[in-house]
Every structure is written in C-alpha cells, then in structure tokens.
Amino acid sequence: MKRNKIIVTLSILITIGVVVTSCVSAKINDKTGSQLWTENCRRCHNSPPSSAFTNIQWEVINTHMRERGLLTDVEYKKILDFMQQGD
C-alpha cells in the first residue's frame, strides 16, 4: 500500500515535469519585461518604479520576489533586466 502511494506520487510528479518542460509557451517569452513587471507585481502590491532601487538592490529584491510570487525563470530574468535599465 505504501509502495503504491510512492509510485503514484512519483508518477504524478514525473508527468507534471514532462508536461511542464515540453509545453513551454512562446507567450511569456514574447512579452517584454515591462509587461511582466506590471502583470506580476500587481498580483499582490503596487508596482514600484525602477528608480526606487539601484541595480544591485533590484537583483536582491527580484530574487526575494521570485520566492514570494513563485515567478518562472523567464519572468524573473526579464523583469530584472527591465528594472535595471531604469537605474
């Protein structure tokens, strides 16, 4: 019974992994950092202007926000590039 649970859990995780890695949409990849910044920040709070922090500070904050908002890797990189352009 316990083994079956482990097998089912592993199967679900592997299936999710396969689906996730094979179904990468061009939708997010096509978006600009500005769009992703607006869409993701406002999910919880007001969007800060890029002038609010320095480039290094933005890198730290964006990593913190990646943790909080569970951003994808592409979102994290594009938003960071956009925020650092304003410094």
Binding site: T21, N40, R43, V60, T63, G69, T72
Partner: protein
Amino acid sequence: MKKKLILFSAITLLLQLSLFAQQYNEQFIDSLVQSISQAQVAKGTKFLLTGYVTSTAEFTKTKSSLSAVGFTPILLWKPHDRILVETEFETGFTGNSTNIELGYADVSFYVNKYLSIRAGKFLSPFGIFQDRLHPSWINKLPTSPLGTGEDQYGVGPVSETGLNFKGGAQLGESKINYSFYVSNNAQLITDPSNAIAEGTLSYGNVDVQSKKLTVGGRLGFLPFSNSTLELGVSYRNGYVGDTSAAYQNVNAKLYAFDLSYDNQLDFLKGDVDIKAQYNKSDVSNAWYIDPSNPTSGNLYTYNNSRSSYFLQAAYTPSMFPGKFLKKTQLIFRYAGFTPPTNAIGLTQIKQYTYGIDYWFNWRTALKFAYQSQKDNNVFFVQLAVGF
C-alpha cells in the same frame, strides 16, 4: 654651539617621530577602515535592508488608542547567484514592553529553473494571506482577516520550520507554481488555563514533537496568460500531540483553497482586486480538560473541526481623471470563523470590514477602516510605509 646642536638634533628627531607617527596613523587608520568596511560590505556583496513601518490608531465607543507602532525590518542577502538569505523581525509594543519576534529566517538554494530548496523558518504556503499579503504596506486593510493569525480563531499555519521545495513554470499559455514542504509538527494546545486557545494549534516549533514530520504544500494555477487569476489549493498533514500516550497519535489534517484576481476593467474605469481564502482544520479525537472547571480534572471531547474564510474586494478608480481619485482605493472584506461544535468558550463569528485608502506613492498608504464583529466595532486609522 653645543646647545644649538642639541636643539637641532631634538627638533629633527621630533619631526622624524611625528612624520613616522603621522604616516603610521594614516596607514593604520586606512588599513583599519579598509578592513572594517571590507568586513561589513565585502566587494560584490548584495545586501539589502528593507521592510515596513506601521502606526495604527484604534477607536471604539469606550476606548481610544494611538499606541500601536510596528517596525518590521527584512534583511536580504544574496551571497551567490544561486543563494538567497532572508530574515524578517517583527517588532512592536505589547503593553509597556517591547516585543520582538522572528517572522522568518531561511536560506534558499536555486537548483535549476524549476526548483529552489529553502531551509529554516519560512512563511507557510498555506493559502495566500500569510505568504504574500500580510505586510502592512501590501495588506489593504489595517487588520488581518479573521482566521489567518495564530490566535484562538486561527485556522492554519503562519510559519513552518523545515525544508521547502518550490518553483514556477509555464504550462502552455498558463502557469503553475508549487511549494511543498516537510516541517516540524504543530503543537496541540491542551492547557485548560488558556481555555479559549484549547484545541488550537501552534506552528513553527523548533522542537520536533514526534518521530514523523509534517508534510504539506500548495499548488497554484494561473489559467490566463496575463496572470490576472490565480487559484490555489493547500494541504497539511501531521501529528500534533506531544509524546505522551494520551496525545501521541493525535493528527491534524488541514486544507485551504484560495483565489486571487487583479485586473484593470474598462467598463468600471478602474482596477479590481479580489482575494479569497477558505481554511479548514480537522484534528483527530483527543481529550481535553474542561476549561470551565479546570481544577476538577474532568475530561471532555468534541469533534475538533473548525474553519475560517475571507473574501476581500478592492476598487481603485485608476481610469478616472484627477490624481486624488487615482490614488484612492475602496475596500470591503467579509470574514468568518466556524468553531468546533460543542467546544467550550468559542462561538461562530462574522466580521465585516469597510475601508478607504489613500496611496501617497506605491508603498505608502493612509488607511481608514471600520470593522464590525459581533459586539466589537472598531474604527482604525493606519499609516503604513514600505521601505
């Protein structure tokens, strides 16, 4: 002549000594400053002090209070591209004494694009309020919704101590995110002297209460490509009793469902923000000392199943002309708590909160709110500043 020679030698010696001393001092001070500054801010260190400050006033029919001030610094340090260290301290006043609590302290390691592993004390990914919305410069109302704190009405954890596996990914035009964890067990409160908290759970304990750890997590789904809607489901399962024979097999299963929607709607000429969460906790059968007569030692039991919920809607007329309107936000929140049937000292509660915020900038808000909860009606004024 001899006197002149002695005087000249003495002056020369003094000059040499003073030059040497000056040089030594400059070098010493330079090296000292350099070593101190390097120790504090090493080259390439990515360190940030951020957080928020809150000042709250409360007014009821019988009392007024201006004393609630909270300062919550958050320390962030990124010593490596794949590592983030984060710590939050919650400071404030309780009566006349200063109160400092550790909100979270954890280290995250980014394994790959889809997975990061976090260790330490972290905000529990149980629903969305504690993990994402609790800071006062984010929370649109001066108070937390009923049922989301760690008090007698709390249903669900605030923080966990353990290991957290999390990440986000694209799924076609949608997105998913996950946050699973293995953590220390919660603790069932059985102290009859704290009658109102008896039967509730305390989380984030450092001491492990039994051989098996707790498992839990949240799965989030964002169906639309513009990330306006997120639906989440959370689960937590673990032992909650101490190691004594009476409580060692007591178990708690918790569930939560959450919804988040934020979008600018043309037909309403503004931004609409909706947040909702439902929490449910089921603690298996346990015996409690009757809190109405704790010295008698009489035991009683009940079906320890409780739930809480909140629905919050906010509207900002962002497409109206005029700066004042664009910076004003209207908020309404409905929250409730359903206690276990037959539990002594707890009754069903419904809470209504009406608020209006004025945002001076993206992180500074002056909030006014009226909260109605049974016989406890309070008017709040709060200034919240993020930094």
